[in-house]
């Protein structure tokens, strides 16, 4: 029994002997999430093009289907029927493998995001379907948040190997650049998640959602906004979205790591990118904005469905913010990107994590609040001064040595 539990996650439906009904429910969940993911991605592409067109005083897609809604479908069909090219010097196996390495992690993130359920009054998001208690979530492993980090670190391979296996210079440059960026920002991503874990006291995503039962408990409020801002920036860089889309700096790199890809393999990269945007918005909502937990009860709708409505509403806000950022912000320069990541985001997130840990400890041990605050402020100021001096000294040194950057 226990082995089944551990492999399939802590979903109550997977405990005990797997007879037909639970198995069917789990399969149903997989199919629903898969279809939902694809349809959502399709609509996301349309939404992004339409919103950006609106911000740029254009009309955007408007021919295929009502309001151009079927534009993505048309593009997808077109991509399917295009010739699939493979460069002569490409590494055949890795070249074919890379798109899947980018696409599959983007999809797998869906499995640990709570997509609904009633979290009110300590119900913990459990719902009853056809007489079986389960979660509106494919799997709820005890290390849910770490799974997110693991998947985002696996996604690096897709981009890195795509660029390398093309056997061509520009894709290689683009992929080395991209993977350096993703590896750098993963640290900030992990450290800002650590603050959330510290407060929630659990790694499971449903546990983290269950911990945010009121607005004051939403982690965006209770961790003091900073980890959220860092997470949002790091996630944007991790997904290679504007303003951090140096991966696809077409003015310098032709088209980045996917230059040599065509047909449906290019389509998979494209799909992965947009799906990442949706799943990352879902992760942000789960970690910082209470996931399916609403601010008030929507009258006339049962709790479990209400959760999904709240989740969709919150995710849509973040999707809009991502599109908005793409339409308004110019691309960062590469050294600015690395400076932001290593010299600002990582030290800030680490310092904030330590601060939250000290505040937590002082509450548990009943220390003098005022004294703790003063000591913490002094230490923070000291660290900031030290850090900025170090940056200044190294900059002066580089200028004296006549470095180019």
């Amino acid at each position: 029994m226990n082995n089944t539990t551990s492999i399939l996650g802590l979903d109550p439906i997977a405990i005990g002997d797997l007879i037909w009904a639970p198995l069917v429910i789990i399969l149903l969940k997989v199919v629903v999430i898969f279809v939902l993911g694809l349809v959502a991605t399709m609509l996301m592409v349309w939404f992004e093009r339409k919103a950006i067109a609106g911000m740029g005083n254009r009309i955007g897609p408007n021919k295929a289907g009502p309001w151009g809604l079927l534009q993505t479908l048309a593009d997808g069909i077109k991509l399917f029927f295009k010739e699939d090219l493979m460069p002569d010097r490409a590494d055949r196996f890795v070249f074919k493998l890379a798109p899947y390495l980018a696409f599959v992690p983007a999809f797998l993130v869906w499995s640990v995001i709570p997509l609904g359920g009633d979290f009110s009054h300590g119900k913990g998001g459990l719902v009853t379907w056809f007489g079986h208690v389960t979660r509106v979530q494919l799997a709820d492993p005890p290390v849910g948040v770490l799974l997110l980090l693991a998947l985002s670190s696996v996604a690096v391979y897709g981009i890195m190997l795509a660029g390398w296996s093309s056997g061509s210079k520009y894709p290689l440059l683009g992929s080395v650049r991209a993977s350096a960026q993703m590896v750098s920002y993963e640290a900030a991503l992990g450290l800002s998640i650590a603050t959330v874990i510290l407060l929630a006291g659990t790694l499971s995503t449903s546990g983290i959602v269950g911990h945010q039962s009121s607005f004051a408990d939403w982690h965006v409020v209770s961790t003091g906004v900073i980890p959220f801002i860092i997470f949002m920036l790091a996630a944007t860089a991790e997904m290679n979205r504007p303003p951090f889309d140096l991966v696809e700096a077409e003015q310098e790199l032709v088209g980045g790591f996917n230059t040599e890809y065509s047909s449906i393999r290019f389509g998979l990269f494209f799909l992965a990118e947009f799906m990442n945007t949706i799943t990352m918005s879902g992760v942000i909502v789960t970690l910082f904005f209470g996931g399916p937990q609403g601010l008030f009860n929507i009258p006339g709708i049962p709790g479990a469905i209400e959760g999904s409505i709240w989740l969709i509403a919150k995710v849509l806000v973040f999707l809009y913010i991502y599109v908005w950022m793409r339409a308004t912000l110019p691309r960062f320069r590469y050294d600015q990107l690395m400076d932001l990541g290593w010299k600002i985001l990582i030290p800030t997130s680490l310092g904030w994590f330590m601060l939250m840990a000290v505040l937590r400890l002082s509450r548990d041990e009943n220390w003098n609040r005022g004294l703790v605050a003063i000591v913490a402020a002094v230490i923070i100021l000291g660290c900031v001064a030290l850090m900025s001096t170090a940056v200044k000294v190294s900059k002066a040194n580089r200028e004296r040595e006549g470095a180019m950057f």
Partner: protein, 180 residues
């Protein structure tokens, strides 16, 4: 079910391991290494060590092998090597000796502790079965409690290694008087 998982994961580990040794292309060898690491992660999950599995993927597959690939790609050594030539003459005999030694030691360890290994359910810590977060609690108690000194010393060692690397890779610039 446990047996199926074990067989699949073991196959992943073995195929990956053989790939690391036998593939003549460095990038393919590194990719085989990832396969092995994933297989080990699956083994961890089937032994209820979820945290270790996640960390295995994040740290080894997600960071260390990425750096391997980085070095391979940046140094431009990503071309096929001839496996028949041997750069260091002693390397292969030594590798055979070390490999046989490890196999011998593991076999000896299993044989001597046969009673414990063969017992079903021996060495299982009860709370791990019921409380999903207990894995992390127990790990953090031993790392930040019982073995905190060793842990901190290790981190100092890593910092020393990083600083040393930075120092070694810095080119000694000619002083401004000499260059002018």
């Amino acid at each position: 079910m446990e047996l199926v998982v074990f067989v699949l994961a073991a196959a992943m580990i073995l195929v990956g391991g053989l790939g690391v040794v036998l593939r003549s292309h460095p990038v393919h060898a590194a990719l085989s290494l990832i396969l092995t690491l994933f297989g080990v992660a699956v083994m961890f999950v089937s032994q209820q060590a979820h945290f270790l599995a996640a960390v295995q993927v994040i740290v080894y597959a997600g960071a260390i092998v990425v750096l391997f690939l980085f070095v391979i790609m940046l140094l431009g050594v990503d071309r096929t090597e001839d496996l028949k030539t041997e750069p260091f003459k002693v390397q292969r005999p030594l590798a055979v000796i070390v490999g046989l030694g490890v196999v011998g030691l593991v076999t000896a360890a299993v044989v001597t502790s046969r009673d414990v290994v063969a017992t079903r359910g021996a060495g299982i810590i009860e709370p791990a079965m019921t409380d999903p977060d207990s894995n992390i609690r127990q790990l953090s108690r031993s790392v930040f409690g019982d073995y905190v000194v060793a842990f901190e010393v290790t981190s100092v060692l890593l910092v020393v290694a990083v600083v040393g690397t930075v120092l070694l890779t810095r080119k000694v610039k000619p002083t401004s008087k000499e260059s002018q």
